[in-house]
Amino acid sequence: MRKLTYAGALNEALRLEMQRDPTIFVAGEDVGTYGGIFGVTNGLLAEFGPKRVVDTPITESAIIGMATGAAAAGLRPVVELMFIDFIGVSLDQLFNQAAKMKYMFGGKATLPLVLRTECGAGMSAAAQHSQCLESWFMHVPGLKVVLPSTPYDAKGLLISSIRDNNPIVFIEHKMLYGTEGEVPEGEYTIPLGKADIKRAGTDVTVVATLAMVPKALAVAEELSKEGISVEVIDPRTLTPLDEETILESVKKTHRLVIVTEEVGHAGSSAEIAARVAEKAFDYLDAGIRRVTAPFSPVPFSPALESHFIPSEAKIMDAVRAVLGAPETA
């Protein structure tokens, strides 16, 4: 099958959807003339014109609030927050306005709104341009939280998100933009709330998200040489969270490792661990391990950043640990 990059797959999803539905527009900082700082909106301005591809001032509250008002008034905005780290200047419009509007209004509002954003370390972009903050959005009733790890998922999930009638935070990972994978031409959707078993296995369940998925898969591959069978699950959405798929897997493997790039303390990994510790406790043969970034702002220097981001070695150790092997690190 044809291969596309993750960025290319996202771009294609946007193009196809905009062709299909004239109420969809794209707005954000540098999404037009520049084509998006990471190139995701490249070519959209040329194809759809400035009415539907809108460069905005550097005012994130106004961007998200504008999208909220426009959605309430009948459009389907897909707006970009250049770095997830910038949510701090604009969170109110998302979590108090867009997310709660339907509920506060007794159901009488529909907010089909996608906030695309991008997260993660790996570019030495330092503490204010490298964070993973998905757990903040999980904690907000009214939002859905989507985070693809492959080009295939990126395209299908973005199409589904655009068609969904709820405010959605769609989180891309900057280190995945250049990764390639098979992507069908034309439109297809992936249900929001359905985890994907990226690799089936029987001995240990590893739940991973975003840039940790390829790492978990590499570890699984490596361990398979020793006869250890690792199941790798990507939840793909954190709200809704497909806990059934995770619980089923744990009931089979009896062991769970959760791998996320975010800081662990009150992260999404904690929620997944808590669910399993409540609902599949009787099936667990070992304590649940989490592999996450340490409790630190993201450091700039590559010499530190490489130790901040969870490594394959740490994942490997955690898997061995839940299997009862002594750790190396």
Partner: protein, 326 residues
């Protein structure tokens, strides 16, 4: 004023009275412990919402504030549904989920009261964006306070509306206080309308207790917006008679100040003018007040007789489509 149609003048008068009566009764009901939560009353400021909304039709949008009852009534909100919402009943506008600070009627173009100071300007800008995108000649009106004029979101919303020439009218209700902080302590200018220059949009100061002045300034701004010439800022100087919320001891202002403003009450002022014009007499005034009292009575009855929301409704209306259970 002479150019305003008589029916409009009368309807403006009725709306102001309607707001006043509704709010006065709400104040009493709150004191009786019948209404839960925070209640921010608009009494004294009726001319602003009324003068502006007199120009609007259901295809036009408004965003309101924590002090929203007046805006909602002026935009055509249903008293029964409002009152039931204030009581927290399932028959209310928001099925009891929103309360005073979140009453909305999207079908009437009311994008909600708002519990966040400065929450509205970006949303109104978005509604204006949609109207322009859809090629409609409707407008979005954003009500906000003097306190809210300092909030960053207000600045951002105005800037965005200005560059894209969106059909938005920003109406600042300068009642000289943000809770306890007086205007001279929260900003170093006296006319908030002067801030329009920061966005190259027209900015005018109006006596917010003179409903015809408000009406005329709004006419101009709304015409401009409908014609595609972009946003405007109207500052209406007015005053709230009640505390910031019901229960506020108002230690931060003097009785004299309040009394001076009460002498400029927008309703008797307008009444006098309408009488002079021969449009109103004492009998008609009494009748209008009586009618509004009756309608509010009816709304209270409706609210009191309405059922409470059922606990099973707690988890409804969070998402459109299938529920997201977590």
């Amino acid at each position: 004023m002479s150019e305003i149609p008589k029916e409009t003048l009368l309807s403006i008068y009725e709306t102001m009275v309607k707001i006043r009566v509704f709010e006065s009764r709400v104040s009493e009901l709150f004191a009786q412990g019948k209404l839960p939560g925070f209640i921010h009353l608009y009494i004294g400021e009726e001319a602003v919402a009324t003068g502006v909304c007199a120009h609007l039709n259901p295809g036009d949008y408004i965003t309101s504030t924590h002090r929203g009852h007046g805006h909602l009534i002026a935009k055509g909100g249903d008293l029964k549904l409002m009152m039931a919402e204030l009581y927290g009943k399932r028959t209310g506008y928001c099925k009891g989920k929103g309360g005073s600070m979140h009453i909305a009627d999207v079908d009437l173009g009311i994008l909600g009261a708002n519990g966040i100071v400065g929450g509205g300007p970006p949303i109104a800008t978005g509604a204006g964006f949609a109207l322009k995108y859809q090629g409609k000649d409707n407008v979005a009106v954003c009500f906000f306070g003097d306190g809210a004029s300092n909030q960053g979101t207000t600045h951002e919303g105005m800037n965005m509306a200005a560059i894209w020439k969106l059909p938005v009218v920003f109406v600042c209700e300068n009642n000289f206080y943000g809770i306890s902080l007086s205007q001279e302590r929260h900003q170093s200018i006296s006319d908030i309308a002067d801030r329009a220059a920061a966005y190259d949009m027209p900015g005018v100061v109006v006596d917010g207790n003179d409903v015809t002045a408000v009406y005329e300034a709004a006419a101009e701004a709304i015409k401009r917006a409908r014609a595609g010439h972009g946003p405007s800022l109207i500052e209406c100087k007015t005053y709230r008679y009640r505390g910031h919320f019901e229960g506020d001891p108002t230690v931060y202002r003097s009785k004299e100040e309040l009394e001076a403003w009460m002498k400029k009450d927008p309703i008797p002022r307008f009444e006098t003018n309408l009488k002079k014009m021969g449009l109103l007499d004492d009998a008609r005034i009494m009748a209008i007040h009586k009618e509004m009292e009756d309608r509010v009575d009816e709304a209270i009855r409706f609210a009191e007789e309405s059922p409470w929301p059922d606990p099973s409704e707690l988890l409804e209306d969070i998402y459109t489509g299938p529920a997201v259970v977590v």
